[in-house]
Symmetry: C2
Subunit: 240 residues, 2 copies
């Protein structure tokens, strides 16, 4: 059985304007790979309701899981929860369970649960809350879409909350052979090798460092024995 | 007249598996913002022909420009050029102008222009070459899609080759006000401010550092006077 598939939807003008460098994609990619869930696509869209709704619908229909980051805080530009509700045709309002979490949190810190903060308790009907041990305001899962915060520490905590609840497949393993030869020199035999091991994924990633051209050959698969055998064959091909 | 719109298509299993952290998105975003071209969407897809063709078609139809990175080297997993040709229904083969560039390059370095390297001269009919001052093998523009390498140094050189040939709009300027107050405290008046300046984009980006919660308020627009006036009003609202 193939591994479950996943997509990520990053919401944020700050990424698209170049102001902020996204950190969540790389983190989620590594976590999903370890869990045996194959990340197949990432989309980054701006803080535009139509764009968010359209992307959420397309990715929800195309993949087993969708993970979103960004746009669930208390300010006017935090529109993700409402957009995901719209994508599923679900009603959304302040929900008692989320409000209770926030009320307890702000009572402890002596702050007021004002109208802005209460926006973070807007949860679509039928959604399941995602625990946020960092700053309390929860994420949620609606259908196969898991809605999480954009602040990296909170995003990572939410990923840690949700991932153990999802069924993974066989973790994808990878091995790398570093060759100090340009891609043009190795492409022929490498292509033959890739054909010989159709169950493995074979990628070539060129590098250039201190004037030296080389290639990292990355071989991926979920069967450790097949992988080790292939790496031995690869080393023999390139005489290293 | 609104600024031209753009999308980016990142091609690469290595990003989606978490092995490599993409660097090109952040670079392109900053360059386009300076040039007055609005980056509206980014998609990252795997080394899968159907996925690449579908994304290229959708983005090409949806935006004024599409910039791709990755998958134009000499190895078996470099399939971007063929996929972009397929997306436009264009024929593709080794083209004389690209072959001549490569032949001269490898003659200089005393290397053989073998079958693998010749793959880098596969250019769709009707495409215009993009200069690669780093490692010679060219990118190309076909229709409104600009196809570039994934290696960051080469990607950046190709961006420098292509951007001056594109018509930009008014550069998007941004100003940031750093507030050492949580988003929940400022969201009310900030939302009102955003409504008062509909021509400006107002974003709030929370941070947490050394136990201090704060927010960076980023205001964007292309009219410097309007922007400065708004920032003065914003400082007055928050008494800083």
């Amino acid at each position: 059985m193939p591994n479950p598939s996943a997509a990520m939807l990053v919401i944020g003008d700050e990424i698209l304007s170049g102001r902020t460098r996204d950190a969540n994609m790389h983190y989620l990619a590594g976590q999903l790979t370890e869990r045996g869930i194959d990340l197949k696509e990432v989309r980054v869209v701006s803080d535009d309701p139509d764009a968010i709704v359209a992307a959420a619908k397309a990715l929800s229909q195309g993949y087993d899981h969708v993970f979103t980051s960004g746009g669930i805080g208390p300010t006017h530009d935090d529109i993700t929860a409402d957009c995901i509700a719209a994508a599923f045709g679900a009603a959304i309002d302040v929900r008692d369970d989320a409000r209770a979490l926030l009320q307890a949190h702000y009572d402890r810190s002596g702050q007021e649960l004002n109208a802005a903060r209460l926006r973070m308790a807007r949860i679509p009907d039928g959604a399941k809350l995602i625990d946020n041990p960092v700053s309390t305001a929860p994420g949620f899962s609606l259908g196969n879409v898991h809605v999480m915060a954009g602040v990296p520490s909170v995003f990572q905590a939410m990923v840690a909350s949700i991932l153990p609840t999802l069924t993974g497949g066989a973790p994808l393993l990878s091995r790398t052979l570093r060759l100090v030869r340009g891609e043009g020199d190795i492409a022929g035999p490498l292509g033959q090798f890739a054909s010989d091991y159709p169950m493995l994924s074979v990628g070539s990633y060129p590098f250039q460092k201190d004037g030296v051209y080389g290639s990292n050959i990355v071989v991926r698969g979920s069967d450790v024995h097949e992988l080790e055998q292939a790496m031995a064959a690869l080393a023999a091909i390139f005489d290293v």
